[in-house]
Amino acid sequence: MSENSKNMTIHLKLWKQDGPKSKGAFVSHTVKDVSPDMSFLELIDVVNSEFIKKDKRPVEFDHDCREGICGTCSMVINGEAHGPQKATTTCQLHMRSFCDGDTITVEPFRAKTFRVVRDLVVDRSSFDRIIQKGGFVSVNTGNAQDANNIPISKPDSDRSFSAAACIGCGACVAACKNASASLFVAAKITHLSLLPQGQLEHRQRALNMVDQMDKEGFGACTNTGACSLACPKEISLDSIALMNREYLKSSVKER
């Protein structure tokens, strides 16, 4: 049973910013009668309908699947990317994680590369550009041989899957004190380099993806581990080490 089944009053401080160049500020709003079964985004829905009814403009926020897999939602709640629960996206965070009378501060993911589009919506296209530089296997449609021609050891395949589970939400960048994208980039490098299909171009991949990551203006990795703690899919810090190793080896061998 839910720990507290009584409805709550929640004080919100929400970031509002008209556009990338505007100055933003927090607006305060109190919501009464919040059900603990409500998801965090449903709370924002309620706030927005109250805003619209009072002719105030609603807070824009990114969201889509609301089941924790699309990676669209992107809020920093009380200083924590996706809020206080581990292995959870904002859309899967429920109000039972909070207490009656709590003040909750909601900010956008903050990083130079994650330009604010409006309010809590940020631009994460840098992630796409990094993938475009090498986060793939160069195989055209129709090229493939039979799927079982190359056996892959189960442990490798499982590890590859764990890294491939990245949903590209950007919480790693949001949580990192350096706004580093290392965990995101490393997850893709790990996913592909653990598979024989991804091995053939693993050097160019590591070099090009890291190169693009730097060009985008992310910070460097200090191995604090904050990214992995914030990651809704709990991608391991090990992948960053693997990326570093691939990068070092590729720098030595590739010219």
Binding site: C65, Q92, T141
Partner: protein, 638 residues
């Protein structure tokens, strides 16, 4: 009568022969053709990538902030293929047969056979791309049986098969973007199809960030925009999944086929309150060990553990002694609704039934149950705050897939030349009911292995002069889109978009949901049209059209849902039989099973838009379904 352009010859060689007959475009000439691909789900991303690899100039559009977030990502279960790796006698024919039968004989045989034929290539392609499918210790791909299939033909990647397949396609697409072969447009919503002399030559989009209305001209348009389940407001679809792009094509001459075919999934997490924004599906594998029950007495609101065994009604086991809790999706869903309608629903809202694991835990031990279902149990607990090991789960059916969609011929071309429709957005392969793990298969089949050939045929056999976006047709389209948006913004009424959507959803769920009857459908038509009228007088949208404005986006989509909902009711009303996901109460056997009418309804209903701008009306066309290879039989689960 519509012509599906099905190639002649025996079913097994139709596709091969057709590929041979298809006109081809010289590789050097392909770069002269602009292909507009709308949507980046499995169908859209795979089509855009494949066509760009072939040399076409592709423009790809998605409403999300990244192509990787399309809703295909949420599919959990798996993807079917006729590989027969487990050596249990599967074959292309077998998969084809099951799919036609599963679709309750309302799909097009030739399309389904082609789908089964290319299913194996999909798995090969995905593995080559680095999709980390589940494997066995010997290093070979693992398969499981899914949705009651008699063979293990489902490939999977934990509970995230859709995500992994989509990322595979997204990576292929990203590679082509990096090479400059695809131009990608994020946060763009297609709001109109532009036709010149009746041929699809472009689209009008809205840049969701700054509200700009833009024109894109091309030689062909590929619509890969998914299904319309969100017409029900609450569904397992993503919040932004919508029917606008597809529905607006109907206003330019594309026919909408079988809109009444919707699939309802029995094991979803129930609604917890008024604020509920969407529903979450849990794998139906839960029914393998869970027992479904409600209290015998109406209004018994004791906690489940206090209700003694003899006062519980395990209704599926009672009604279907041989299949019990494993009856097909539609049957399980309908029975749950009957129990709730009788007033025997459970939970705070009374709109749920129990799915109880206590017997399984007693029989197998908590550990064994946890090994099978731990991730589902965790997900359930995360959302509901209840521990399914100690308290029975509460479940209720929810809409999760729509088999209907824009009508396409064998080449995936709609009734508008040049407009091709792929994936869930078209209607062709699943008939009246889709089998588990077949949606992913169809999306990728269309994108990777069908459209690359059939699009070449279209381009190679059509005269397509260059058309600039200054053409009158584009100007007119932009003007219309702008006008309709400003009309919405200027209503400045009292009622919120979500409130209208919720009302529409309530009508749809009640009257055009799991079980339908003539009276209810007629009421639905009246109610929806009244709601639509009120919407255009009284909707309240904040802000302007010149910035990111989610309310405005929603409003435009709900406006289309308010028409599509009516069309669904009309289609359901006209289809006086029960088949697959469409259950008409007047057409059931004595033991409450669906009764098909093959004599009068073995056809596709395709609706042509014949109304004026704000006064929708449609006329019904049909495509006769001929079954040459499969014999029509009746399903039974008693």
């Amino acid at each position: 009568m519509l012509d599906a352009k099905i190639p002649n010859g025996p079913i097994k060689s139709k596709w091969e022969q057709h590929r041979f007959n298809c006109k081809r475009v010289n590789p050097a000439n392909r770069r002269k053709y602009d292909i507009l691909v709308v949507g980046t789900g499995l169908a859209g991303a795979s089509a855009a990538a494949s066509l760009a690899e072939m040399g076409y100039k592709v423009k790809s559009f998605c409403i999300q902030d990244s192509a990787r977030r399309a809703h295909s990502i949420a599919a959990q279960g798996g993807i079917n293929a006729a590989k027969n790796y487990p050596n249990d006698g599967d074959s292309v024919w077998n998969l084809f047969y099951d799919t036609v039968k599963g679709g309750d004989y309302r799909s097009r045989e030739s399309n389904v056979y082609r789908l089964s034929e290319v299913s194996n290539n999909i798995i090969d392609q995905c593995v080559a791309q680095g999709v980390p499918f589940a494997r066995e210790y010997g290093g070979m791909l693992d398969n499981r049986s899914f949705g009651g299939a008699q063979v293990s033909r489902t490939f999977y990647a934990k509970g995230q098969t859709g995500q992994q397949l989509l990322i595979g396609a997204y990576q292929a697409l990203s590679r082509q973007i990096g090479k400059g072969n695809v131009e990608m447009f994020h946060r763009r919503e297609m709001l109109d199809l532009v036709t010149v002399d009746g041929v699809a030559r472009g689209i009008t989009t809205r840049n969701l960030v700054n509200g700009e209305i833009e024109s894109h001209s091309g030689h062909a348009v590929l619509l890969c925009t998914g299904g319309y389940g969100n017409v029900f407001y609450l569904s397992t679809n993503a919040m932004n999944s919508n029917a606008t792009a597809a529905y607006r094509c109907t206003k330019k001459g594309a026919y909408f086929a079988n809109p009444c075919y919707t699939q309802i999934h029995p094991t979803c997490i129930p609604v917890s309150g008024e604020y509920q924004s969407k529903l979450t599906l849990m794998s139906e594998s839960l029914r393998n060990d869970g027992r479904i029950w409600v209290p015998k007495n109406k209004g018994d609101n004791r906690p489940p553990l206090e209700i003694p065994e003899e006062e519980r009604d395990y209704y599926l086991e009672r009604i279907y002694p041989s299949f019990g809790n494993l009856v097909p999706r539609d049957v399980a869903s309908r029975q749950a609704k009957f129990r709730v309608d009788e007033g025997r629903g459970v939970g705070k809202t009374g709109i749920a039934v129990y799915l109880d694991f206590s017997d399984a835990i007693a029989r197998l031990g908590k550990k064994a149950v946890s090994a099978k279902y731990s991730n589902l149990f965790e997900m359930y607990e995360k959302i509901t705050g209840e521990d399914p090991y100690t308290v029975p789960m509460k479940i209720y059916p929810a809409v999760h897939y729509t088999m209907g969609g824009l009508w396409v011929d064998y080449n995936l071309q709609s009734t508008v030349p040049g407009l091709h429709v792929l994936g869930e957005a078209n209607f062709s392969d699943h008939g009246a009911n889709r089998l588990g793990a077949s949606a992913l298969m169809q999306g990728l089949a269309d994108g990777y292995f069908v459209i690359p050939y059939t699009l070449g045929n279209y381009i190679g056999s059509s005269d397509l002069p260059e058309i600039s976006t200054d053409h009158e047709a584009f100007k007119l389209s932009r003007k219309e889109v702008e006008e309709s948006l400003s009309k919405l913004l200027n209503i400045k009424g009292e009622k919120l978009v979500d409130e209208y959507h919720r009302d529409l959803g309530a009508i749809m769920w009640e009257r055009v949901g799991m079980s339908r009857n003539e009276e209810g459908l007629k009421k639905a038509i009246t109610e929806i049209s009244a709601l639509r009228e009120d919407f255009w007088k009284n909707v309240k949208i904040s802000g302007e059209g010149t910035h990111l404005n989610a309310e405005l986006e929603k409003a435009a989509r709900v406006a289309d849902f308010l028409e599509l909902g009516e069309l669904m009711a009309r289609d359901a009303l006209e289809r006086k039989e029960s088949c697959g996901g469409h259950f008409r109460e007047e057409h059931q056997s004595q033991d409450n099973e669906a009764k098909r009418d093959d004599e009068n309804f073995c056809h596709v209903a395709a609706w042509e838009y014949t109304g004026s701008k704000n006064n929708p009306s449609w006329s019904r066309h049909t495509e006769k379904l001929d079954f040459e290879s499969v014999k029509l039989v009746t399903r039974s689960y008693k």
